[in-house]
Symmetry: C2
Subunit: 249 residues, 2 copies
């Protein structure tokens, strides 16, 4: 049997939002390789995992993944490439020793996740590597649950976009869609407040900071946020305040 | 203590994709009220739940929710309203007896889920009802994992839309977004094949039937599907085949 790599979504922060499958795979793998966003800090994904899985007997590598902008189609920053390459080689050397490797990643691997950069780097070195993806709860799902507000119902359309886009592109999407999920909002809140007021959508915009984590906060007026919120912040803009006519005559 | 209603996402079908939180809440509630799409059939959500939670000692109601199109902002079909009203009254009568009620719903309550129709009907009758939403793995996350293909990376934009929209609206979204998730595709596959070929995107469209369930199937050529696929089918169209340049010089 060839050893496998499992790229596992941990959900957005609450360890209870791990799936049974994630817990089973994390428990059975003898190696955990976990991303962290700073050279000295801890790995948020690993912090979630250790709340429900005993990792003491496991071989654990916390590897640094620099948090820099990635523009699809362009070369990433060289520092980023070095980090991906190092992580890929660490994974491959564990697989070569016959160890199954688990790579926990925050939220869902499908949505803006480090997991795919690792996967593609590995595919570039050794395309035949057996890799299994395990979905996790996306942050936006946790935000929606915290607000008791659906992302979409019936025949509604949803857009998910990075808030770092130009005002024109965001304005265009805000005009066309019923619900807009803005990701990576923390550094551009001032600009977003102005844009949303201009589009008459400031009151429909709700920011959730650290959805599903300790210290979760909900802001209903993003123009009144004084300090820069945490990196784990998402804005949901839902235009249809009443989702459907449910009362009978 | 007032009894509470928990609206719980079960994930797309694989019982192992239930979260620890969903299992804990389903285990602790003495009443389960579960939706089914036909008068005589079983509830798919309940079928998932019973694989990991012992429901024998629980009070279980399987209630019929007609699967009819809902246009947000318009009155739903009277048959649908009657069903929602009946479900809401069943929930409220259990809460009145001091029983916590769990309503399991397929996938994630945030995304095109029956859970919010129940919730809003209940809010219309008794707004003070305590309701907690527990997110689940969305079907699209499970599709992405099955295909080892991300929904979005870096600065990409995603749209989630019902495939029952007009060709013009779908074409417009296909032009503007990096990834498009088409929901509710099973009845309109012929039309979609023509449209996608016209947009030169037929080869990027992948259909996943029953993602994460027994009998999961992946179709890489949707124009060659002979029989109508199951209602639980999703198409992912990802334009960027190579997600990022990962190899170092």
């Amino acid at each position: 049997m060839t050893a496998k790599l499992y790229i596992v979504g941990t959900g957005p922060g609450d360890a209870e939002l791990l799936t049974l499958k994630a817990v089973n795979i994390l428990t059975s793998c003898s190696v955990i390789i976990s991303p962290r966003g700073s050279l000295s800090g801890t790995s948020t994904a690993l912090d979630i995992v250790r709340q429900v899985v005993n990792i003491k007997a496991k071989e654990v590598h916390e590897l640094y993944f620099p948090m820099k902008k990635i523009h699809i189609g362009y070369d990433p920053d060289p520092e980023v490439l070095v980090a991906w390459r190092h992580a890929a080689e660490t994974v491959l050397s564990c697989l070569d020793r016959g160890k199954n490797v688990c790579f926990p990643t925050l939220g869902d691997p499908a949505i803006y996740s480090t997991g795919y950069y690792l996967y593609e780097t590995i595919c570039g070195i050794r395309p035949e590597t057996e890799t299994v993806f395990i979905p996790g709860i996306p942050a936006m799902s946790s935000c929606s649950a915290a607000l008791a507000t659906p992302i979409c119902l019936g025949d509604e359309m949803v857009a998910i976009i990075p808030a770092t886009f130009s005002d024109d592109r965001i304005r265009d999407v805000l005009t066309r869609f019923d619900t807009v999920i803005l990701m990576k909002v923390n550094r551009v809140l001032g600009r977003l407040s102005i844009l949303l007021r201009e589009c008459n959508m400031l009151e429909q915009a709700i920011l959730v900071e650290r959805a599903g984590m300790m210290g979760e906060k909900v802001f209903h007026r993003i123009d009144q946020i004084k300090e820069m919120p945490h990196y784990f912040s998402t804005i949901i803009i839902r235009k249809n305040s009443c989702s459907v006519k449910v009362l009978m005559n």
